[in-house]
């Protein structure tokens, strides 16, 4: 039985534009599809910026709620994900400013060494924690470029577009951020 003869039902994928048109016509429930489509990408950005905390979930929700409230102003000149990413970054930066106490950023050096010596069984999750802490130890202006470019894999062009920064600024911040990150991640870089 060839593929063309089979009666496989291909799932219908509604485009972003169709969903937005539905939402603007009053179908609020269509927005749920937008949320499900992009929640993972937004989660990566928000957790990357804020760490694994309750505020990250709140900021994630607020990102989508803000997009919904301003949906009539979204003209489609950029991709929906780009627009959401921009909102998520801005809200995360606001949250960083609002924090009265810093998250516990300083992982004791002895713990880092014990991990690199294989004394800890949960290597992957510890690397994740170290990466989180390393990124949050950065200044917020470096965090955003690191999260987008190095964690999320956006190109430098895309990163500059999302953050509305000149390319030179993005490259310069990336270079400085990487120098700082090397200090944290040196045990894992094959020294």
């Amino acid at each position: 039985m060839t593929l063309s003869n089979s009666k496989m039902k291909m799932p219908k994928i509604t485009s972003d534009q169709q969903l937005l048109d539905d939402i603007r016509a009053g179908n609020v429930d269509a927005f749920k599809d937008i949320v499900k489509r992009y929640e993972k990408r937004i989660a990566a950005i928000v957790f990357g910026m804020l760490g694994d905390c309750q505020e990250a979930d709140d900021v994630g929700q607020e990102t989508f709620i803000r997009f919904y409230k301003n949906i009539n102003e979204f003209k489609g000149q950029s991709h929906v994900l780009t627009y959401l990413t921009r909102i998520a970054i801005n809200l995360s930066l606001n949250e960083l400013k609002r924090r009265k106490r810093q998250l516990n950023r300083s992982l004791p050096l002895e713990k880092a060494e014990s991990i690199s010596n294989g004394e800890n069984e949960h290597m992957d999750s510890d690397i994740k924690i170290i990466v989180q802490q390393a990124v949050q130890a950065l200044d917020s202006k470096f965090q955003s470029v690191v999260v987008l470019r190095l964690l999320q894999g956006y190109s430098t062009n895309e990163t500059a577009e999302i953050l509305k920064l000149p390319m030179g600024t993005v490259l310069s911040r990336l270079a400085r951020a990487q120098e700082k990150l090397k200090v944290w991640l040196a045990p894992y870089m094959g020294d």
């Binding site: 749920k32 990357g48 190095l150 894999g153 990150l181």
Partner: protein, 142 residues
């Protein structure tokens, strides 16, 4: 290793080098194990960063977002009354404007010599209402 070379390494990994710069870096790499090692370490660091970015919100995230959106939305009856109130306001303002204009117009037309005004203002006096014959006799008596 100079800062310039380090920046070139970063830009190389960002695919931001011009062809000329790429050739220059390739040449430097061939002659310097230190630069090769720096390039490998930086690439490894980026790999670690990217592999550590798998995050998810707590379960039922989409449902929570939708609940918040629906909770913020005004109730249908509130929307209805808001629309009604807005319509009433417009009608009321228009009505008042028309009333003011009509009143102003009536004041302007009060002293004009039109047949209608003549008719309106040609009121009979009390004397005219009373029979002139009776009036005359009363004056004669007095």
């Amino acid at each position: 290793m100079t800062k310039k070379i380090l920046k070139m390494i970063y830009r190389y990994l960002d695919a931001d080098l011009s062809p000329k710069e790429k050739i220059e870096l390739d040449q430097l790499k061939k002659n310097s194990p230190e630069i090769q090692a720096a390039l490998q370490k930086t690439a490894k660091m980026r790999e670690i960063l990217q592999s550590s970015s798998d995050y998810s919100f707590k379960p039922f995230f989409a449902e929570r977002v939708m609940n918040n959106i629906k909770a913020d939305a005004p109730a249908i009856q509130d929307v209805f009354f808001a629309v009604l109130s807005s319509m009433f306001r417009r009608v009321a303002i228009a009505g008042c404007t028309v009333a003011v204009l009509l009143f102003s117009a009536s004041l302007l037309f009060q002293k004009s010599e039109t047949p209608i005004q003549d008719y309106v203002y040609s009121q009979m006096t009390l004397d005219e209402l009373i029979d002139p014959a009776i009036t005359t006799s009363l004056e004669d008596i007095l």
